[in-house]
């Protein structure tokens, strides 16, 4: 199983996809682990399903929308993010060490993990490929304004850029600015406009 690696899928003459070498190797390892009684394949299914259907940036968006509409909740969130996020329910009994950093008219926050790909899974789901890329991990700390420009966001010199390099088991969530023109929107409507990228700090939230 120690062959070469292919990122792409090959195609046969009928146009049907042939599994990549990596896919075959993963399947072989899973079969071996199941045969040895080390892994229950139904538990693997459950983990895959959780990431595909339950855990994702909608969770973080609910936190942001509640912070925008409930000042007392926002105060608790900034004081003890782990407890305030657990209030909403989807963290269950788990309490990762969460920190929320707030964007303001004079401060913009950006989250990275230069050493690996630490990311607040429970509120944002699995990280996108760009977050895990060498380009992002290398540049976010030395040239955050250039990285933001790659996302189409240009910030003036009067705005301080704070980069949070996730080097420990603390996990950072950006509280983006509530956009102008959303004063009449309720919490659910606001949650629907909060994007994953805005909670990592590579974008602002736009009014609908």
């Amino acid at each position: 199983m120690s062959g070469d690696h292919h990122h792409h899928h090959d195609h046969d003459h009928d146009g049907q996809e042939i599994p990549s070498a990596t896919a075959l190797r993963v399947k072989a390892l899973e079969s071996l682990l199941v045969e040895k009684g080390l892994v229950d394949p139904a538990a693997v299914d459950a983990i895959v399903d959780a990431y595909e259907t339950k855990i994702g940036p909608r969770n973080g968006a609910r936190v942001v929308a509640k912070a925008w509409t409930d000042p007392a909740y926002k105060a608790r969130l900034m004081q003890d993010a782990s407890a305030a996020i657990a209030e909403i329910g989807f963290m269950g009994s788990e309490r990762p060490h969460m920190i929320v950093v707030e964007n303001t008219p004079t401060t913009h926050n950006l989250v990275v993990c230069t050493l690996c790909s630490c990311y607040p899974w429970l509120v944002l789901g699995l990280p996108p490929v760009w977050y895990k890329s060498t380009a992002y991990r290398s540049r976010a700390v030395i040239d955050p304004r250039g990285v933001l420009a790659d996302f189409g966001l240009t910030l003036g010199d009067d705005i301080a850029v704070r980069v949070w390099d996730s080097t420990a088991e603390t996990r950072y969530l950006v509280l983006p600015e509530r956009p102008a023109g959303t004063e009449g929107m309720d919490e659910d409507a606001l949650a629907a406009i909060v994007t994953r990228d805005s909670m990592v700090g590579v974008a602002k939230v736009a009014a609908p």
């Binding site: 538990a43 983990i47 050493l115 704070r162």
Partner: protein, 219 residues
């Protein structure tokens, strides 16, 4: 270790290229790798630091060439063989060795909830007094351990300010090597962009890192 994983501040990797409407997984095997890795954590001590160090120890060219899930897959194989959970001949044949025992999976659908995401607290109540108070000036130590560390090269030797005290946390430098949790006070430390990258940087810009007490000296 001064590995290729320690990417902060390096040049040459090109622009960041976000993908429109990115799927959760780009191929089904990626999800299987996450699931297998999470579940095998139960056999490997659920040691997130050892898992990270296994990834860092991939050959540098492989580290840069592999996708995220390929890194996870290959480093997991190394961990499984090194720990004796699978034998090299089993890896080669893909079949259980005839004389190898059959275990009972410790994690089932009923108990998988706790294994979905890497959670749990790494904070420990040691009662130790923190050496630094918020506002204190510190210098990141100029150390180059060959083992696992979470002190990136780009801050070593640089002066920063203690921003926040997170209490005592498990020290990755020992924990990754099975040498105990050795909890120490963890601090968020603020380094100005000018301190790290020179005077051409914007005056108000800064980088914040979470650093353990033994990574720091008074300055």
């Amino acid at each position: 270790m001064n590995g290729v994983h320690d990417l902060g501040g390096m040049h040459g990797f090109g622009p960041v290229r976000p993908e429109t409407n990115e799927p959760v997984f780009h191929a089904p095997w990626e999800g299987r790798v996450i699931g297998i890795r999470r579940l095998m954590g139960a056999w490997l001590g659920n040691n997130i630091d050892a898992g990270r160090h296994a990834i860092e120890r991939l050959p540098p060219a492989d580290y840069l060439r592999f996708s995220y899930y390929e890194k996870w897959f290959q480093s997991l194989i190394h961990q499984l063989v090194d720990s004796g959970k699978i034998a090299p001949e089993e890896l080669a044949t893909g079949r259980k060795a005839p004389d190898a025992p059959v275990a009972t999976p410790p994690v089932t659908v009923a108990t998988v909830g706790a294994y979905i995401a890497p959670t749990g607290s790494y904070q420990r109540d040691t009662g130790a007094n923190p050496r630094y108070a918020p506002g204190a000036t510190v210098r990141a130590r100029n150390i180059h351990p060959e083992g696992h560390t979470r002190l990136p090269r780009y801050v070593r030797g640089h002066v920063g300010t203690i921003e926040r005290d997170h209490g005592a946390h498990v020290l990755p430098d020992t924990h990754a090597h099975g040498a105990g949790e050795a909890p120490e006070t963890l601090y968020t430390v603020r380094f100005t962009a000018r301190e790290l990258w020179g005077e051409a940087r914007n005056e108000g810009d800064a980088v914040y890192l979470d650093l353990w007490e033994s990574y720091l000296d008074p300055a």
